[in-house]
């Protein structure tokens, strides 16, 4: 059991982080509003989790202006893709071994 859990990534334990990674792994990029509307979370909550994932090196952000309004776009890094894939595989292993 211990071995199975070793690939469960602590960084993805929160539902919001799981959601962010799920959106970014299938889309080349997503902006703050899209993430917020898809995951149905508050701005503050989303911002906290985005910052944590960015600090872990799993996603990158780019600030730009759209119609003179600030708009931040997020992308997954190759490290993020790999870690998230491992996390999904670990979850699947856990289900199989139950």
């Amino acid at each position: 059991m211990k071995e199975l859990l070793s690939n469960i990534n602590k960084a993805f334990e929160s539902r919001v982080r799981l959601g962010i990674m799920s959106v970014l792994i299938v889309n080349t990029q997503a902006d703050f509003r899209t993430l917020r509307d898809t995951l149905e979370v508050t701005d503050g909550n989303l911002a906290t989790h985005l910052r944590a994932l960015e600090e872990a090196g799993y996603i990158t952000s780019e600030k730009r202006f759209l119609n003179k309004k600030p708009n931040t776009v997020y992308r997954i890094t190759s490290e993020g893709t790999e870690s998230f894939r491992n996390h999904i595989n670990a979850l699947e292993e856990l289900i199989k071994h139950k």
């Binding site: 990674m21 959106v23 997503a30 899209t34 898809t38 699947e92 856990l94 289900i95």
Partner: protein, 211 residues
């Protein structure tokens, strides 16, 4: 929630969010059925506008002379075409909106925009191809071009929605090319491509996805 269910719930959440954020999954089978019925009604109406209510050799494509005295006919055909387009699109939107509401999905997402963009580029190219061809295309060629470019639009848009749309697009392209080979049968090919294929696809999708 039992702690044991956590991994399974996580996987379910991941799958749902991936699907929702990358594909437009609210396309309803009923949209296809209604679009098909509207297309057949429109094709028959166009036939009556051109040839009058009594049609001999009803399967055979009508020839239309684009001359001055045909202005009334052409205006009627344009109104017919616009009505078919408006009815087909609005019924597709309505059924999808209903399906989205029932399954708790939103109908307008960034994916919806990408889907429509990818569908409309080949469609616009097709419309311009027909309008800009020097001289004039005969009815059979116009019918073939509308079916082929529509098929290309579907193939192009398929990656943003249910995968079956790709195969519907391929079948439309084949139908359009067959129509090009036998332009005399354009009426039949058009009814098959926009009517029968849509209805068959709609029934299949309705049964497969229960909605």
């Amino acid at each position: 929630m039992k702690e044991n269910d956590q991994p399974l719930d996580d996987i379910k959440t991941i799958k749902k969010i991936m699907e929702q954020s990358a594909r437009f999954i609210s396309l309803s089978g009923l949209s296809g059925i209604s679009a098909g019925i509207i297309a057949i009604a429109g094709a028959v109406t166009a036939r009556i506008i051109i040839n009058g209510p009594v049609i001999h050799k009803w399967y055979y494509s009508p020839a239309l002379d684009f001359t001055e005295d045909n202005r009334r006919t052409i205006i009627l055909l344009l109104i017919n075409a616009a009505a078919v387009l408006a009815l087909a699109v609005s019924s597709a939107v309505w059924f999808s909106w209903r399906k989205a509401g029932r399954s708790g999905n939103r109908i307008w997402t960034p994916v919806t925009g990408r889907l429509l963009l990818n569908l409309s580029v080949p469609l616009l190219a097709g419309a311009l191809f027909i309008l800009l061809t020097p001289g004039r295309l005969d009815g059979g060629m116009i019918a073939a071009a509308t079916i082929i470019f529509y098929g290309l639009g579907l193939v192009n848009a398929a990656k943003f929605t249910l995968g079956e749309i790709f195969w519907l697009g391929i079948m439309e392209i084949i139908t359009g090319l067959a129509c090009l080979v036998m332009p005399g049968w354009a009426f039949i090919f058009w009814v098959f491509g926009f009517g029968i294929l849509h209805i068959a696809y709609g029934v299949f999708m309705y049964l497969k996805y229960k909605g």
